[in-house]
Structure formats: structure tokens, C-alpha cells
């Protein structure tokens, strides 16, 4: 994602004696405060009482340590952002930029040098107004950038030596909060310049064909899906839009209306199916819950709406929500899937289970923990950020019987909930990913490596971490024992892949 402002402005320079107030990056102070924080005193650090006393005074005067030489809140903040305000006076050559932002023109200093030029200059009145502060500026010390705070001419001075004006290209990156002049180094804008450009961007992006840009949360609330390209809808991002110098790239879309969310769900699945993928309608529902609803493309209220929580794809839904051309493209395939890929739950010992405990006990009757060396769980969405994911509950039960469990992520696209992963890992479960599994294997599996180095493979027709309907406790898929020879095709072998 990128939001940028590009405009032509004026770069000028003046040379004069000035008093400068700056925020300077002081990692030496940071290191010192870290040592103090770790319990050392200044005398121990420097081995000199005089040096310690002198520094103690400085730190106290800056409010970084208190009377008992402990770090103050400012001191602790300094460790995070070690910027120290400093004042310096001298003769400087200073670059300043005039940047138009809408109807306003702001000025900011972009570079300072301690040596002045040899060129002949006019001595003219100092008249720079509307100066922005807190932006970063370059200095002539190698690699040093400082944050501008204040500039004043000595009292008796009213004029400075003015340089030549020059038109330059100015760029502001509103995501990184940085600017550059003439494609030079990227420097931090500071809050003031950032907010001025952001406010302008907000205004500049108002009359767009897509919807409402929320530049604070970086979301585009979509008005209608019609104006977006296929690629934009699948990726959930506006590729590129420019208005009045503001350009957005790969900007995340957000849907806050349930009706549109439903329409989006069908469009998303249309593109997936049109690209060769083959899913049963139940599998489409699973993809929506895990791959679409975990993204930020829907607002929380849409995600938690009854309609979306209970959403299920069906043939007529495609007909009602896609335009005629798209529907006609897909209709025959949908009829094929509806007619022939209607997966039923296989009636076996697992189909009667009501919870993970019962599932594990069914496995344990033929595969007791002591005979299993390692259990590989090939999963699509083990840590999906949605309310349906019960991977940690599932793992808790399996871990009671099987000591050595590895979750192998197939490589399905989805947003993960780190808390679930942490919890699962805390149970001693290893997690790895092998995206080659997704390329070759449609389904999910439990691969038991036995102590005698043979394997037993079980196919699972839905996500094992989302196995039960939360309302009814009924299984949503089947667990079926299969011949290990079946998980191999064209030199691709699942058992090899889970161990890679």
C-alpha cells in the first residue's frame, strides 16, 4: 500500500548567522540510560567521580533521571526514542522548501551545512513564514539527520544572504511519513507536515468513483463493486488512483454493507472458480470463512452479522449476485459442482463424534500414543482469525494421546490469529509450512508416523480445527482412513512433503 503526494515546489537557500533548536539522535545517551536502567551507577560506568557528577547534572537537568538517580518516565521514553533537544548557534547555509498543499504554501528546512558558499549573493530581508517544524533535515555530518525545532536570527539581524530559487519535484509518502526533495534521501515529515498533507489528501480523494477513503485507518469503504477490476476485487486492493497530486496504490478495500459483502463473496468465488479451481459448495463456504472473512475487507460489523456468519454459497446466489456475463461463464461449471461434487459426510466411527475428545479416543483404539512416533496434521487454516477456529482445543485433546505433533500448514492464503498459534506452540506442538502441499493436494490429512517407521494416513474433508458445527456439535466433514499409496502422484508424495 502506498499513498503519496507529488508536487512541484521551490527550493531556495540562505546563508546567515542563526540560532537553531534541534532534536538530535543521541544513542550515546541511550546506552548510558540503559546501563543506569540495568542498575549501574555513573561512577561505576566512568570510574571517575568528577565525570559522573558532571553527567549526573546534565541528566537531571534534562529530567532523564530523578533525585535518586533512577530513570524518570522521560528517561524511559528516551530509550525508545533517543531524541535530545539541542541548541546551536553559528553561520549556516540552510536549504528551505516552499511546498504548495492545496491553497496553502508551507515552508520547511530540508538541509543545513556549516560551511557557506563562495558565490556572490544578495543581502535581502528574512521573510520566510508558515514554517513547519519537527521535520527531519540533512546535515553536513555524514549520515546525520536532525529534527528541526526552531530557527531565529540574532536580534540585530534582519537580512540574510539569499541563494537562487529552483523549481523542484517534492514527494511525500503518507504511509511511511517521509518526504524527499528532488528524489533525494527520504526524510521524516514530522507530524505537522504529515497532517497538513493528509488533510489535503483527504480532500483531494473525496470526489473519487470508488467510495470513501479513510486515510486514518487506510481503508477504502467501497460504494459499489462495479468500478473495480477483477484483480482488485480478488486481492481486495485498489491498484492505483490519482487525484490532484495524491496517488494511492494497492489500497485496501473495505466493505461495510452486508448486501455488498455477499455480492463480494460471490465475485471472489467467481474469480477463484474461473481460474481453474474446483470446489464443492461446502468448500467454498470454508474458503469464505477462512480466506475472506479473516481479511480486513469487511468491517467487523459485517463479519459478525448473522447473514455473513451463516453465509452459504448456492447456485442461485451466483445467479443473483453476479452480472449476466459472469454468471453465464460459470453457470455450467457450477451445475457440474452442484450435481457431482456434493460431498456427503461418510458414515463411520468418526461421524458420530461430538467433540475432539471422542475423535482422539477413536484414533487411540487403533493407534495408541505409544505406537506413534509423530503425528503430522496437514491443515489449511490452523490459526485462522475467526471464531470458528478451535485448533487449540483440538490440539489439547490430541496432545493428551500423542506426544509429538507437528502442524504442517498447506499454504492456503488467510490471516492468522497469533494468539491461537502461541497457545498451540505452548502445548509443545511444532508448526511449519510447506506451500508445495497446496499445489498437489486438495484435501487435509493426519499422517501418523508409527514407531516402526510405517505410516497411517487419514483424509479429512474439512478443517480439523473447525470440525464441529458450534451450534449442533455435528461434524462438518469426514475422517477416512486411506491407503498411504494414494497420497502420491507424479513424483509428489505427501509423506515426504510433511517431513520437509
Amino acid at each position: 500500500m502506498k499513498i503519496s503526494y507529488r508536487v512541484n515546489g521551490i527550493l531556495n537557500n540562505f546563508e546567515s548567522k542563526v540560532d537553531l533548536k534541534l532534536n538530535r539522535n543521541r544513542n550515546d545517551f541511550k546506552s548510558l540510560l540503559l546501563e543506569i536502567e540495568s542498575g549501574k551507577n555513573l561512577e561505576q560506568i566512568f570510574g571517575s567521580t568528577a565525570l559522573a557528577n558532571s553527567l549526573e547534572k546534565i541528566l537531571k537537568s534534562r529530567g532523564l533521571i530523578d533525585a535518586s538517580n533512577k530513570l524518570t518516565k522521560s528517561g524511559k521514553d528516551f530509550i525508545v526514542s533517543p531524541l535530545l533537544e539541542e541548541v546551536e548557534s553559528g553561520t549556516y547555509s540552510i536549504d528551505y522548501v516552499s511546498m504548495p498543499i492545496g491553497n496553502e504554501t508551507v515552508n520547511y528546512f530540508s538541509a543545513m551545512r556549516r560551511t557557506i558558499s563562495n558565490e556572490k549573493r544578495n543581502f535581502s530581508n528574512w521573510n520566510i513564514s508558515n514554517i513547519v517544524v519537527d521535520n527531519q533535515m540533512l546535515t553536513d555530518r555524514k549520515d546525520e539527520c536532525v529534527f528541526f525545532k526552531e530557527l531565529a536570527l540574532p536580534k540585530q539581524l534582519k537580512s540574510v544572504f539569499q541563494g537562487q530559487e529552483k523549481t523542484v519535484e517534492l514527494n511525500v509518502d503518507l504511509v511511511e511519513k517521509k518526504y524527499n526533495v528532488e528524489k533525494g534521501s527520504w526524510l521524516f515529515t514530522g507530524d505537522e507536515l504529515f497532517h497538513k498533507v493528509l488533510t489535503y489528501a483527504d480532500e483531494a480523494l473525496k470526489n473519487n468513483p470508488y467510495g470513501r477513503f479513510d486515510l486514518m485507518n487506510n481503508l477504502l469503504y467501497v460504494e459499489t463493486l462495479k468500478d473495480f477490476s477483477d484483480k482488485e476485487l480478488v486481492s481486495g486492493q485498489l491498484e492505483n488512483y490519482s487525484s490532484k497530486g495524491i496517488t494511492v496504490n494497492n489500497y485496501p478495500l473495505c466493505i461495510d454493507q452486508v448486501v455488498m459483502a455477499k455480492q463480494y463473496a460471490y465475485l471472489y468465488m467467481y474469480y477463484r472458480l474461473n481460474e481453474d479451481a474446483t470446489y464443492s459448495f461446502k468448500e467454498m463456504d470454508e474458503i469464505l470463512q477462512n480466506e475472506v472473512l479473516t481479511k480486513n475487507i469487511f468491517t467487523d460489523s459485517v463479519k459478525s452479522s448473522k447473514t455473513m456468519l451463516e453465509f452459504q454459497f448456492d447456485f442461485n446466489g451466483f445467479k443473483d449476485n453476479l452480472d449476466t456475463e459472469k454468471f453465464n461463464n460459470l453457470a455450467y461449471k457450477l451445475r457440474v459442482l452442484e450435481e457431482f461434487l456434493d460431498l456427503k459426510i461418510v458414515d463411520n466411527e468418526f461421524s458420530k463424534a461430538k467433540n475432539y475428545k471422542e475423535i482422539v479416543s477413536k484414533f487411540a483404539t487403533s493407534l495408541s500414543g505409544s505406537t506413534v512416533n509423530e503425528l503430522f496434521m496437514v491443515m489449511g487454516y490452523p490459526f485462522a482469525k475467526n471464531g470458528k477456529t478451535k485448533t487449540s482445543e483440538m490440539i489439547q485433546e490430541f496432545a493428551k494421546e500423542y506426544q509429538n505433533i507437528t502442524i504442517v500448514k498447506k499454504g492456503n492464503e488467510h490471516i492468522e490469529n497469533e494468539d491461537i498459534e502461541k497457545k498451540v506452540r505452548s502445548l509443545g506442538v511444532k508448526v511449519r509450512e510447506n506451500k508445495n502441499i497446496k499445489k498437489a493436494f486438495h484435501d487435509r490429512y493426519l499422517v501418523f508416523e508409527l514407531t516402526n517407521k510405517t505410516y497411517e494416513v487419514y483424509l479429512i474433508t474439512c478443517e480439523i480445527g473447525q470440525f464441529f458445527n458450534s451450534a449442533t456439535n455435528q461434524p462438518l466433514g469426514s475422517i477416512i482412513k486411506i491407503n498411504p499409496n494414494e497420497v502420491s502422484k507424479d513424483n509428489v508424495n505427501l509423506i515426504h512433503l510433511v517431513k520437509e
Binding site: D276, T278, Y332, F340, L343, F441, H442, S478, V487
Partner: protein
């Protein structure tokens, strides 16, 4: 001259064979299957025995977007769909071969298609569903290429096993069937009567079944037919149309005559009677006495089996045709005659008056042998003057010739021919046969007597 002999084989015995029987076709047609479809038709036919015909008759279904037409076919077939004009529908190819073609309308009405004229409608819903579930399993889990509505064949790289093999209750495995005793069974079973898809000699009674059936077992009231792998579906309806013949042993020709049968390694029909006409040519002087060797002719002529065989031999005299050449004796004789004449003319010019008369007499002799003899005598007995001797006599001398080389019969008697160094005497008819024989003897000639023309 016709000479006839009849052989009667009706009591000959065939040790082992088959009689084909025609029971008529079944009543179910491809059109019946098509008219049964309202939502979908799934065809599994990797042998390609009926797929194209079914697809061409099912154009209405294929072109209806609301009805799914799906085919699970061979890899070769899926590549050829476009060239066969099949541009709509859903097709996948598999290496799991079908035994007989299966079509399932609306997922619940199954048909076993032995060939387009022999179709079994499965009355049991449960069996139909089992068949559907298995074919559907292959469609999603065992397919390698896909064509959807005229797309190019796309390789299916993803392994999907979620459409699982159904649990069969009605369909039986081979091992389910092996434990019981059945009256009929193909050779992979041990039944009382063996079912064969093509005739061959076996040590039991055998029945012939449609050659598209891979394996079958059963009793009169219940058969099981192999549908795929080692799985057998029960077919309890009237399936007599699948039976095409039965074996026999030690059967007389009499009972097999005019029936479609198989024995001694091939299909045969024993005709009740067969007449062979043969022409035999013999020398003119002996053909009337000739007796044909009918046993040898039978061996030579009769290659098939017949109830009765009659051989008619028309014995005729040898006749001159373009393969015979006029005997070279005629040309040689003409040449000698001219030579004698010329020699006598020369002698006349040399000879004195006395001798002239003798020479005139010699010239007047008709018989060439005598003329040569006299000429030679004359040359031997007369002497000429020195000059003559020196200048002329050298040009005349004795004529040495084997008289038999130029001996020919009178034209009225006949004419000499040769063929392959054999001499033939051709007569105009049989009236002067005795005279001709005498001439040969008299002139010390050897020739086969033939007829000049009819």
C-alpha cells in the same frame, strides 16, 4: 463325357463346437436413457464402445445449460472430443478402465451398456446409487485430464480424495462371489458351465456371451456382471440377449447342417449339399477309357464341411490352342526340299547328256526321302572332267539328313505340334484315329494324339 461320384458326410462327427443362437436384442435403447434425463447424465466408458454414439444422440442434453452432461473417458478420447464435434459438456479422463460402459441419469437411474444394442436398465435405486458413487469417485479422485465446454484438455495436478470410494452393499467383490457354487461363470470362476466371450475348446459345457462382457457369474435367475475392477453388479432381469451360443460335442453333420456354428478354430456353416464341377483333359485316343480318381479330387477340391458332396468330372480330349506350336519339322522339310532342288539344278549344268535324263527323273520324284537318296547316289556314281572337278564339283555334294526329322503326315491325316519338347499329332476328328496311329508306328514317331479343334 461326364463322370460323377457322390460322397455322403452326414454321419461325420464334430468332436467339439458351438452353435450360435439369436435371441434378439434387448428392449432398452440409447434413446430411452436420454429420455430418462432431467438434471444430469454421467457416462463412464473408457473403452469408448458407446460414448460417441451416445453423445451424438444426446445433443439436446449436451446443449442444454441446465442439464449436466459428464463423461469419464480414456485419455485418447478426451483429446479427440473437439475433432468429433463434441464442444459442450464436462469431461474427464482416467486410467481406471471401465469393464462395460455405465450411464447414470440424474444420479439414480443406472444403465449398463454392453453395446448400443444391448443395454441393461438397473431397476434397483440402491444399486444405481452405488454405481453412481463409485463413478463419481473416479471422476473426482482418479482423473488426469479435464475438458469443460470445449476448453483444451487440462492436466489435473491436484490430488483430491474427498469423494471417497463408497461402501458397497449390493455390488459384490470377486471374493464375495468365489465362495459359492454357480451354474455359469466366466473362466476366472469355477462354475459348472463356462461362459466364454469367444468360442474356444474347453473341457466343460460352455455358453457364449456378448464379447464386450469381461466377466460374469450366476444362475438362471441371477447373474453378476463385472462392471469395473473386481466389482460385480447383480442383473436379475431377463438377460437372455447376452447369450449368443452354446457348446456341443460329438455331433453328426446331419444335425449341424445349415446352422451358424464354430468348430475346428473358426466360424463355419455346414451346407447340406455341394456340387463340384471339374474338367479333365486326356489324349484323344484314350480319354473315353479314363476313370477319374474321385478320392484325390475330393482332397484337392473340398476345403469346407458339407453334408453331401458330388463331384462331376467332364473328361475331354486335349485340344490344340495357342500354347502349342506348329512342329519345326515343317520348316526344316521345306528348307531341305529347296536345297535338293538347287543341288539338282547345279548338277544338270555340269552333267553330260546321258546324265541329264537321270537327273530329270530324280527331279520328278515326289517323295523327298527317295529324292535325296537318288540325288546322293547320283553324286557318288558320276565323275566329272578335271576342269569341272576343279571349278564346279566342289559346289555339289551328298545331302546328309536324318529323315525322321523331316517326316510329317499328310495334311489330310493331321498336323504335328510341339509343346515343351513333346510332339502332338492333332487330328480334325476321331475318324482317322487308327490311320494316324499306324502312321506314327510306320514312321517311327512318338506323339500324343489330340484334337485340332472342336
Amino acid at each position: 463325357m461326364i463322370k460323377t461320384h457322390e460322397f455322403n458326410n452326414l454321419n461325420n462327427i464334430v468332436n467339439y463346437g458351438f452353435i450360435y443362437e439369436q435371441h434378439g436384442n434387448c428392449s432398452v435403447t440409447i434413446d430411452d436413457i436420454i429420455s430418462d434425463v432431467s438434471a444430469s447424465l454421467l457416462i463412464y466408458d473408457t473403452k469408448g464402445s458407446v460414448f460417441l454414439e451416445l453423445a451424438s444422440k444426446a445433443k439436446k442434453i449436451i446443449n442444454n445449460q441446465n442439464v449436466v452432461f459428464a463423461g469419464l473417458v480414456s485419455h485418447t478420447m478426451i483429446k479427440d472430443l473437439k475433432s468429433k464435434g463434441i464442444v459442450s459438456g464436462f469431461y474427464r479422463s482416467t486410467s481406471s478402465n471401465s469393464d462395460i460402459a455405465i450411464a447414470i441419469a440424474d444420479k439414480i437411474n443406472a444403465y449398463l451398456i454392453i453395446d448400443t444394442k444391448n443395454i441393461i436398465k438397473i431397476p434397483s435405486k440402491k444399486l444405481s446409487i452405488e454405481l453412481f458413487n463409485y463413478v463419481n469417485h473416479l471422476l473426482w479422485s482418479r482423473a488426469e485430464f479435464e475438458v469443460l465446454n470445449n476448453s483444451a484438455p487440462k492436466k489435473i495436478t491436484e490430488i483430491r480424495l474427498s469423494v471417497v470410494i463408497p461402501t458397497f452393499e449390493i455390488i459384490q467383490t470377486k471374493s464375495d462371489l468365489q465362495g459359492k457354487t454357480y451354474e455359469y461363470g466366466t473362466q476366472n470362476f469355477d462354475a459348472n458351465q463356462v461362459l466364454l466371450t469367444k468360442p474356444k475348446e474347453v473341457d466343460r459345457k460352455a455358453l457364449l456371451i456378448n464379447s464386450n462382457i469381461g466377466s460374469m457369474i450366476g444362475n438362471e435367475d441371477q447373474y453378476y456382471i463385472r462392471v469395473f475392477d473386481e466389482y460385480y453388479a447383480p442383473i436379475s432381469r431377463e438377460v437372455s440377449f447376452l447369450f449368443e451360443g452354446k457348446s456341443f460335442s460329438n455331433e453328426k453333420f446331419q444335425t449341424l447342417v445349415n446352422k451358424n456354428t464354430w468348430f475346428d478354430g473358426k466360424d463355419r456353416t455346414i451346407e447340406s449339399e455341394k456340387v463340384f464341377e471339374v474338367v479333365e483333359v486326356q489324349p484323344l485316343d484314350s480319354y473315353k477309357q479314363f476313370e477319374p480318381d474321385f478320392e484325390a479330387l475330393y482332397k484337392q477340391l473340398v476345403k469346407e464341411n458339407y453334408g453331401k458332396v458330388r463331384i462331376n468330372v467332364d473328361v475331354k480330349p486335349i485340344m490344340i490352342d495357342s500354347t502349342y506350336q506348329i512342329s519345326p519339322k515343317y520348316a526344316k522339310r521345306a528348307k531341305i526340299e529347296a536345297f535338293v532342288e538347287e543341288s539338282l539344278n547345279k548338277l544338270q549344268k555340269l552333267a553330260d547328256d546321258d546324265s541329264q535324263k537321270i537327273l530329270s527323273n530324280i527331279k520328278a520324284i515326289k517323295w523327298v526321302a527317295e529324292k535325296i537318296q537318288k540325288h546322293n547316289e547320283f553324286v557318288a556314281n558320276n565323275e566329272f572332267g578335271d576342269d569341272t572337278l576343279k571349278n564346279k564339283k566342289s559346289s555339289v555334294s551328298k545331302i546328309n539328313i536324318n529323315i525322321e526329322d523331316i517326316t510329317i503326315p499328310q495334311e489330310l491325316l493331321g498336323k504335328l505340334y510341339t509343346k515343351k519338347n513333346q510332339q502332338y499329332l492333332a487330328l480334325k476328328d476321331e475318324t482317322r484315329l487308327a490311320e494316324a496311329k499306324a502312321w506314327l508306328k510306320e514312321n517311327n514317331q512318338d506323339a500324343i494324339m489330340v484334337l485340332e479343334h472342336e
